[in-house]
């Protein structure tokens, strides 16, 4: 079908049998348009519909860095990619099968990513001289100059048709053309054989959520009506004009039974912290200073007042962690969240929490650095900052979430460890996890860990730094406890008594004790599990948000019969106790990271393993194919062809994306 070039104009000669369904195991669709076009909403509606239909889904939204970048320019393009599948998936997909572009700039920015032979649906109305000019096409039109050769292109006058569709409502032109995205959604819904009423219901439920204020109800009801008209018009257009040569169906995924909801990483993080508060029966204080891409955690937790959650928008990141430490000192869950630049500011305070041995959790939703860097792009370059970025020998626990839904689990785990071991814990997330979504099976209470550890009042003569022999944690005694008045602080502590001490031998002992306490936590962590054989030629070791791409790439390599396994580190300090033996079970180790080789340095230093790195620092997540290619290269395999559902005979996945 790649050779078929159907354009709107060409539709005069109707394709002979245009309505066949083609079965695919997964489909990757990217919506793109101006940041004012409602792209994220469209993507999110389509994702929800896909998830409800039983597909596994994974998404990748991308926003422009500027809030109000000039309309129609490449800088102002916003996009949303969805991968929906009949099998379990872990990535939003490398290259979209289908690109929907609401203007020339969106086409220009995203065309390079489109799969060879892929499908393009574009709003033909926007390709006028002005539109082309703003997108940087001068004197040339990509629709006509051969740029789109080899793709299946559908030129639909989306703007005109949308205005027509909502005309009966008497909206002004600006309001009316805001419904373009819904027309586009209608087209896609038809192409992928979706139920019109299900999507319309979603539009209505969106309306309900927005109309908590009676004053705005009419406005939103009007909007919903217009949106539904445009959506239906798009669907009907596709159904009647017989332009589209093919429709696609994707089967349901075999997901474990249960209740599901779709979560972004930041939502799951917030819910996980809420759960930690509920499970520990301690009130939660979240203090944070707004920063991309972490702000949504603040927004989310601020909605949980009815759970007793206290949030403070602090004056800066130092104040934010200071407030969290104050809460922890008071016997509550002290939490702060930020991105790399904010962590840089918090470092001195983290040291205080280490010295005072107080449980605080610090979330770092990593973004491109250094300095202000790339605020809206993703990166994993704060690993060493989390592990080492403080003055003195200052060990803390470092955890990483590896997918949006996984954030829930790790947020609980962060507090479980913090409380049990009286230590600060870093939880690393990143921009793509934070904004990406996936289905999340909501857990039952019995599936969650217990955090309500017995916290009795110490008997006898209270020693502030007396330690539990097993965990080496001191006891958490908050103000209000009669008779145990004491003073904590950042000055070195006398072992056991906790009094200020400048004694040199004591200092060495305390430094070693603090290190030992953190290292000992490895005994209380799950062992590192390996996807694939327990030994072999190559281990692909990752951490954090690279999980999906690594897993998928290794899966594909295994299908080729290669001796490859994958393992993802959710625990970075300390490492899982079996990491050394896992590493030694493979002839080679590859560590793909979105940084210049931070985990690799740690692995080499600690285990003397000559691990190879695959380092991408473009602000973009890994593509499966990039990792797959590196696996093949390391194993000396070349040119392995495999079919892609949308471009039969074309996709040579092993080598195409270099």
């Amino acid at each position: 079908m790649t050779e078929v070039m159907a354009t709107h104009q060409a539709s005069q000669e109707k394709p002979a049998k245009p309505r066949q369904f083609r079965e695919m195991d997964h489909a990757v669709v990217r919506f793109a348009g101006d940041s004012g076009d409602g792209i994220q909403l469209t993507g999110s509606l389509f994702t929800h519909d896909s998830a409800v239909l039983g597909h596994d889904v994974s998404t990748l939204p991308e926003y422009p860095a500027e809030i109000r970048a000039p309309a129609g320019t490449r800088a102002g393009v916003s996009s949303f990619q969805l991968n929906f599948s009949s099998a379990e998936i872990h990535t939003p997909g490398d290259r979209p099968h289908m690109l929907l572009a609401l203007n020339p700039a969106a086409l220009a920015v995203h065309l390079p990513d489109l799969m060879p032979g892929g499908t393009i649906v574009l709003d033909d109305d926007t390709f006028d001289t002005a539109g082309l000019g703003k997108a940087g096409f001068t004197g040339t039109d990509p629709r006509e100059d051969g740029t789109l050769a080899g793709y299946q292109v559908y030129r639909v006058p989306i703007t005109t048709l949308t205005l027509e569709a909502v005309r009966s409502l008497g909206l002004d032109k600006k309001q009316a053309s805001l419904c373009k995205n819904m027309f586009m959604l209608g087209l896609v819904a038809w192409i992928y054989d979706r139920s019109v009423t299900a999507v319309e219901k979603q539009i209505d439920s969106l309306l309900e959520r927005k109309t908590t204020q009676p004053a705005t109800f009419d406005k939103y009801r009007e909007q919903a009506r217009a949106n539904k008209l445009a959506f239906r018009a798009g669907y009907n257009y596709a159904d009647t004009v017989e332009v589209f040569v093919c429709r696609y169906t994707v089967g349901k995924a075999k997901l474990p039974p249960g209740t599901y909801r779709r979560v972004t990483g930041n939502e799951a993080t917030a819910l996980g912290f809420l759960a930690a508060s509920v499970l520990s029966q301690r009130s939660l204080l979240y203090a944070s200073y707004p920063i991309t891409p972490a702000s949504d955690i603040l927004h989310e937790l601020s909605k949980y007042r009815h759970f007793g959650v206290r949030t403070v928008q602090a004056e800066d990141e130092i104040a934010a962690i200071a407030m969290a430490i104050g809460a922890a000192y008071g016997g509550c869950l002290g939490l702060t969240g930020t991105s790399g630049p904010g962590v840089a500011l918090k470092t001195e305070a983290v040291g205080l929490a280490v010295m005072a041995e107080l449980p605080v959790v610090i979330v770092n939703v990593q973004r491109g650095g250094p300095s202000t860097g790339l605020p809206t792009k993703t990166e994993q370059s704060d690993l060493l900052q989390a592990i080492y970025g403080r003055n003195g020998e200052c060990p803390v626990v470092v955890l990483a979430a590896h997918s949006p839904a996984h954030c829930f689990e790790m947020a609980i785990e962060a507090f479980r460890i913090a409380i049990r071991y009286m230590t600060p814990v870093f939880l690393l997330s990143d921009g793509s996890i934070a904004n990406g979504t996936e289905p999340w099976r909501t857990p039952k209470e019995s599936e969650l860990p217990r955090l309500d550890l017995p916290q009795g009042v110490p008997a006898g003569d209270y020693q502030v730094y007396a330690r539990d022999p097993e965990t080496l944690a001191r006891q958490w005694v908050a103000p209000g406890t009669p008779g145990l008045e004491h003073c904590l602080g950042g000055l070195e502590k006398q072992d056991v008594s906790g009094k200020v001490s400048h004694d040199s031998a004591n200092h060495q002992r305390m430094v070693e004790l603090r290190i030992k306490k953190i290292q000992g936590i490895a005994r209380d962590m799950p062992e590192l599990t390996v996807f694939g054989r327990a030994e072999g030629d190559l281990l692909v070791l990752g951490w954090g948000g690279t999980f999906g791409a690594i897993h998928h790439a290794v899966e594909r390599a295994q299908q080729l019969g290669l001796s490859v396994a994958a393992a993802q580190l959710d625990y970075l300090n300390p490492f899982p106790a079996n990491l050394g033996s896992v590493l030694r079970s493979y002839r080679q180790v590859l560590i793909p990271e979105l940084n210049a080789g931070q985990l690799r340095m740690l692995i080499r230093a600690q285990f003397l393993v000559d691990a190879a790195g695959l380092n991408k620092i473009t602000g973009q997540p890994f593509r499966t194919s990039e990792i797959e290619l590196e696996i093949l290269r390391l194993l000396g395999v070349q040119n392995v062809g495999r079919e892609d559902p949308l471009s039969p005979g074309k996709g040579v996945h092993g080598t195409m994306d270099s």
């Binding site: 599901y260 759960a275 007793g308 602090a314 200071a322 003073c487 000055l491």
Partner: protein, 344 residues
């Protein structure tokens, strides 16, 4: 809460006090310990519910010497740490101990925002107009020309006035006392403790090692009566050892008048609870050479503290939506069910 009668000694920690002999900090410690029983009595408070949070500096060693809960934190951040503590534990009486470097240099930001939010903490700023702990560099309150190791030719920086800053930060309780004036200091400490919201108290404290005599020109026992203006709510601002002079405003600016030349009924009356902070600001900005130095409470107004407002929101949310249930919450809204067995 069971009330208990405390004595001064109940607040004296076993810890040996380690300030330089003659340091003004001793006097403050002693007045705080002395007034604590009465504070506990008035607020029906037990000792274990009192916390002193400090930053870094000589003065910030204070919590070690109080037989209460204490937290000696990091430089400048005590107001923020105290904020987190107070919000989570409204049952505690939280004090902040800070210095002119700790509170007005590295930690200015937190001080401003703590006061602006009206967090229910009691802030004692020990102003010795010098960095004591780091051995004598000039501070943000040092007078111009102060010669120190880091300013051998004299400081060229304009000093900041702590009370002016507190007022500009919308503080609801602003007061000043000298460490050497036991009576005034105790009165103010008591009022600060009972104030609803942030209380900011500047305590003039002599560092006899690095900035000896910084306040002698008006706070030395010999001149104190004559050079101080003791503010009294609802009274004219009369001062002097013989109470023969007063402050009044003329064309918007303060001037000193002699009572024998000026009828008392025409004097400006001091009002600490005026909604507008203008009068308090005028007083905090008085040139200390040309005018008497005001002591006492500059401003005391009522505004809901941050913690109370936050907890009111929680109550409102619970009333409106019911107390949150995690498992109901995550299973409501846009969810769908996957049933087993599934697919082919």
């Amino acid at each position: 809460m069971t009330s208990q009668k405390y004595e001064r000694k109940d607040f004296v920690a076993k810890e040996e006090v380690r300030w330089c002999p003659g340091c003004g900090d001793y006097a403050v410690l002693s007045q705080v310990q002395r007034v604590m029983p009465e504070i506990c009595d008035r607020l029906q408070l037990r000792r274990e519910n009192i916390v002193f949070v400090s930053g870094i500096g000589c003065s910030s060693r204070f919590p070690y010497y109080m037989n209460t809960y204490g937290f000696h934190t990091i430089h400048g951040r005590a107001p923020a740490i105290a904020t987190g503590l107070q919000l989570c534990r409204p049952d505690l009486l939280v004090w902040v101990i800070t210095g002119d470097g700790d509170g007005l240099s590295i930690g200015t930001n937190h001080l401003v925002h703590c006061l602006r939010r009206n967090v229910n903490v009691k802030i004692l700023l020990f102003n010795n107009r010098i960095y004591g702990l780091t051995k004598g560099q000039f501070s943000p309150t040092s007078e111009k020309g102060t010669r120190t190791k880091s300013s051998p030719m004299g400081s060229i920086e304009q000093p900041i006035k702590p009370l002016s800053m507190a007022l500009a930060s919308e503080a609801t309780f602003v007061a000043r006392a000298s460490a050497t004036d036991a009576k005034t200091l105790q009165d103010i400490l008591l009022r600060a403790a009972c104030h609803r919201g942030s209380a900011f108290v500047e305590i003039l404290q002599n560092c006899n090692v690095f900035n000896d005599g910084a306040f002698d020109s008006f706070a030395a026992t010999s001149v104190r009566q004559d050079r101080s203006l003791y503010l009294q709510h609802g009274r004219p601002m009369i001062f002097g050892a013989n109470r023969d002079r007063a402050i009044r405003l003329r064309a918007g600016f303060p001037e000193i008048v002699r009572l024998d030349e000026f009828p008392e009924k025409d004097l400006l009356v001091f009002n600490e609870s005026a909604a507008h902070p203008g009068l308090a600001y005028m007083l905090s900005e008085l040139d200390e050479q040309a005018f008497p130095v005001p002591m006492g409470v500059f401003r005391c107004v009522t505004r809901s503290p941050f913690g109370e407002l936050l907890d009111e929101q929680i109550e409102t949310a619970v009333a409106k939506r019911g107390a949150g249930n995690l498992f109901d919450y995550i299973n409501s809204g846009d969810t769908w069910r996957v049933t087993a067995p599934q697919g082919s």
